[in-house]
Symmetry: C2
Subunit: 340 residues, 2 copies
Amino acid sequence: MAHDERRLQVLRAIVQDYVSTNDPVGSKALAERHDLGVSPATIRNDMAVLEEQGYITQPHTSAGRVPTDKGYRLFVDRLSAVKPLSAAERKAIERFLDGAVDLHDVLGRTVRLLAQLTHQVAVVQYPTLSRSAVRHLEVVQLTASRLLLVLITDTGRVEQRVVECPVDMAQDDVADLRALLNSAFAGARLADAGGRVPDLVDTAPPHLRALVAAVSATLVETLVEPGEDRLVIGGTANLARTALDFPGSLRPLLEALEEQVVVLKLISEVDTGGAVLVRIGEENAHEALTGASVVSVGYGTGDRALGGLGIVGPTRMDYPGNMAAVRAVARYVGQLLAES
Amino acid sequence: MAHDERRLQVLRAIVQDYVSTNDPVGSKALAERHDLGVSPATIRNDMAVLEEQGYITQPHTSAGRVPTDKGYRLFVDRLSAVKPLSAAERKAIERFLDGAVDLHDVLGRTVRLLAQLTHQVAVVQYPTLSRSAVRHLEVVQLTASRLLLVLITDTGRVEQRVVECPVDMAQDDVADLRALLNSAFAGARLADAGGRVPDLVDTAPPHLRALVAAVSATLVETLVEPGEDRLVIGGTANLARTALDFPGSLRPLLEALEEQVVVLKLISEVDTGGAVLVRIGEENAHEALTGASVVSVGYGTGDRALGGLGIVGPTRMDYPGNMAAVRAVARYVGQLLAES
DNA sequence: GGCTGGCACTCGGTCCGTGCGAGTGCCAGC
DNA sequence: GCTGGCACTCGCACGGACCGAGTGCCAGCC
């Protein structure tokens, strides 16, 4: 009924005002700034109900209301329209990302761009290895029994590992090894790599079997396993600006960001079918992220999600704007990576 | 004379007390905590002289004294003994760095270690490309006219670039190109690489000349040039702890750290013959670093400095301890890289 | 000549009481 | 079901008083 409808308008107005002013918002200010068509007294009644339902709260008696996590959630789910980016912003994205020389550079630019657009901490995950495919494997001999294995994926990611081999190798062995590995793995998804190892070892010439086994093992163990995924983080300076929004100190949050594992878990849920994921405050289920929200989305080429990217900021953030920015940046990055 | 000598003792005591308590230190407290053998009144006279000479200052009348940048400088140069690391700390360093799987991992561990030992922001520079030598060059064909050039240095650093070629290539061309590049550059210092290009182009088979020229150009331009050096930064969370030591906000400092260029300049002065370099406050000649000190040193294998590492913290820091930690970590990293 | 104890003085920090204003809940009336 | 009015509650800013740490200076002592 129209009754409930207006109450939602009130909640929306509270979120909007609070996000832009950072002051608890009172009934009078609300009536003045928004055309709700009713008097402050009526709004007060609505606010009392909203508070009882847990959508807003009072920092202390005789202060205005502030949205709770639950309030933000409702706002994000039902009350906000996606805010389209301005032409200038789209232009900025293109200009910023063009001219990147390699993957590292692309992701570095992306993270800076995202931080700049949203004024929050930005996080970008390297394309997940397990979803990438092998483009080339290079083997460089370091010493008689030591190899450097270099993996180049179809997303342009380059990873290296030192492999300690059980036997000494001649130069020809290394060349043979390289050929064997490439014919076995080239084009394969890394997730499938493990399955190809037995075959590979079986068909390898006897004198190379131990070698092939050792190298394949390293490849599968240290490169395919998840948890080896990397992050780029930027815009930490933005935390200084929003420091007041975090209870107590910035420290736990900064620590969580350095920990990477925590953030990785949040960012890497990418199978959302292209929908932007928003996690508000307590929903993050991590102590350090109290008062923090995460806005993330997967980026990829075509229908394949390669990794996640997003932002971390105070729950008091501009959700529509940030969601739009995250989505737009993910799209551009996906396109860019599809080209290479 | 004994007179001046005692005044220096007073300065040392002031620095030590102020660093550990964060309170401006007064004459009475000084007399109590240190065996200077004279009364507070005498110390007051000494302090008046020290203040006149610019080594200490009063935040306001009726507060104790605080060291100035100049005071810290004198302390570092003449009043502090290197504090040897404890056995536990040495052990921790070894344990922490062992088991690293690649260069990225080594530097990541290093930066965390350094941050943990000093409780400051730690910065580690990747081995400078211009001082590294080529171990191997790999060329992977992406499309008919597009190559991925992968450079592997003797320090284990791996860099990649996409090269847009003026002509389409056959598979054999790529193999030839790879062989040519490696025979020309393998073992060469990257700093010398530029000089070898003309020869290489001249001796290349005619149909590959344009190709060799394009690839070499990319190699020299984007990989050898300085400014392409990378940094790993960690321990930013420690800034939250020392936030009060910085005038105003942490923001400029966080921005400078993200800027990288600023910090790179500070860290990369590595030709100090193994001596730890300390830059105090204003000496850094950068606005964002007001109130901040940088302690850095070069690390390397044998006599060759590969890059720099160090810490950034408030001028009010434990210089002897931090200098010892920075030096010790640099040594271990140097050793570790020499092994591979 | 240099050190010391004593003393007056300064001044920032803390505590407390007051006044103000924003905001609320409730109620009677429309 | 909405509205205007009203009493009430608190947090906060302001200002004065007090306290104590620390100083500079001076006269006296070794």
